[in-house]
Symmetry: C2
Subunit: 285 residues, 2 copies
């Protein structure tokens, strides 16, 4: 049985991820039914054509074969009873949260066909205006199945990811959460601390204006995610706290080692470390 | 007397900065005479047309009214005797080093018309192939005059900066060095430590491949300068060591504060700090 043929796809939430998904799935010929929180969002989402059927009544999800929970992490981890009651027992349910272990713990007992997944795509935008076509093309879409995951449900989510052009991969939830802590959640704090240090350090040096005038593309890039969505950054740290703490601890160790090389004027050693960094980065891109 | 009219401009070193300057100054109608270290560099620079007269003999600088020392910091701080002997006594001399106090200390006693300056422009490239047209357009060109600086020499360097479209500003050398430590030199180490942490943390989690697969544009941006030119990063730390140490200290304080908020689950406080970061960043761009 193919969850994506014949039946509508449901989307809960039409922010950046939900809205982009609605646009791509309709373009792929599917019927999309969407549940949103506010009437004003529903109106704007209808104007933007983010789904064919959009309502604030959970009944809009009736008859959907696959439902994507595109909610912020905090609401995903504390779902309203009316939403739970409206999810068809036989539908495949998946989410798009950037942390997987807490989502699995919460949702696996709630629905027998739940599949934890995480499309790794984004822009700086959020909300009902943010959704765009092609957001997922070429980006990873990670699922974290467990021994309890229904393999047919997993295949349906894989089919969905393929329809929007994402690159499918699966891994264990704890490995996912540690990996995203290292490459996404912890770096937000590393980047935020840079903004604070440049601001306060500039002030202490009587160079408030100068640091702002001289900041160039290097500073802009390094500080980008630290100056990003504050709610999202906080949710990531909150919902992936143990992994973020571990990543921060690891980060501080490395920074302190580099600092020690500067303190002790060990220049060939510092250059060797920076040469390694150059090589490492090429593996990550 | 106008240093840029009638007399040739000299450039010592035809790497990214020197080569770009040679291209722009020739396009502005000036005669450019360049001194390079190696015969092979001279040949390639001639092929690329980086200056009208290019030689490995310091005598090429004879008759220049203004000479730009576009050397790496270590060579700038330890100039060969043959170069010093070849600098005309009446020429205006300036440099392009990213640290100003040590350059002033070294060069002010060496030449009475020395002006310390720093065009803040760059790409990821280096060497004789790196020079491009328009590199300085709209970018800051900072001079750090002292009480001993010849005001006519300073005006000549300002004219040069204007010819290549840069935005001229002046400040005290110590303020410059602290500012660039905060917005350029220290961030290299912050970014490098992120690459090391993601690499080692991924390995420790058994997620070597996963961290590489999941790293996205956020990681690419935050890690860009940490994975940049290792020699340049080391020279910056070495030649601006005290300011870099101060900036690192400031940075670590801020990061530890953010880490404490995560440890103590102070989520509204963390979100408030990230909101401030978002506002700060807009001031820096």
């Amino acid at each position: 049985m193919d969850a994506l043929s014949g039946q509508a796809v449901g989307i809960v939430g039409l922010g950046l991820i939900g809205g982009s998904l609605g646009l791509d799935l309709q373009a792929a010929g599917l019927t999309v039914r969407a549940l949103v929180h506010r009437k004003s969002t529903a109106e704007r989402a209808r104007e933007r054509g983010l789904a064919q059927h959009i309502d604030t009544d959970p009944g809009v999800l009736e008859g959907c074969g696959l439902i994507v929970l595109a909610l912020p992490l905090d609401r995903l981890l504390d779902p309203p009873a009316a939403l739970l009651a409206a999810l068809p027992t036989d539908a495949v349910i998946t989410d798009v949260g950037s942390v997987k272990q807490p989502v699995l713990e919460r949702w696996q007992p709630l629905h027998r066909r739940f599949v934890a997944s995480h499309p790794m795509a984004g822009t700086a935008e959020a909300g009902v205006e943010a959704g765009i076509r092609g957001l997922f093309a070429g980006r990873p879409w990670v699922a974290t199945p467990t021994a309890c995951t229904d393999p047919i449900a997993l295949a349906a989510v894989q089919e969905l990811a393929g329809l929007v052009g994402a690159q499918w991969l699966t891994c264990q939830a704890p490995a996912h959460d540690q990996a995203v802590a290292l490459i996404s959640h912890m770096p937000v704090l590393v980047s935020a601390a840079l903004l604070e240090a440049a601001n306060l350090g500039g002030r202490a040096a009587g160079a408030d204006a100068l640091v702002r005038q001289l900041a160039s593309s290097g500073f802009a890039d390094t500080s980008r995610i630290g100056g990003g969505n504050p709610e999202l950054g906080t949710l990531m740290a909150r919902c992936n706290r143990e992994a973020v703490r571990g990543a921060l601890h690891r980060y501080r160790q490395q920074l302190e080692q580099l600092e020690a090389l500067v303190d002790q004027q060990q220049w060939p050693e510092l250059q060797g470390r920076l040469e390694q960094c150059q090589a490492i980065r090429s593996e990550f891109l």
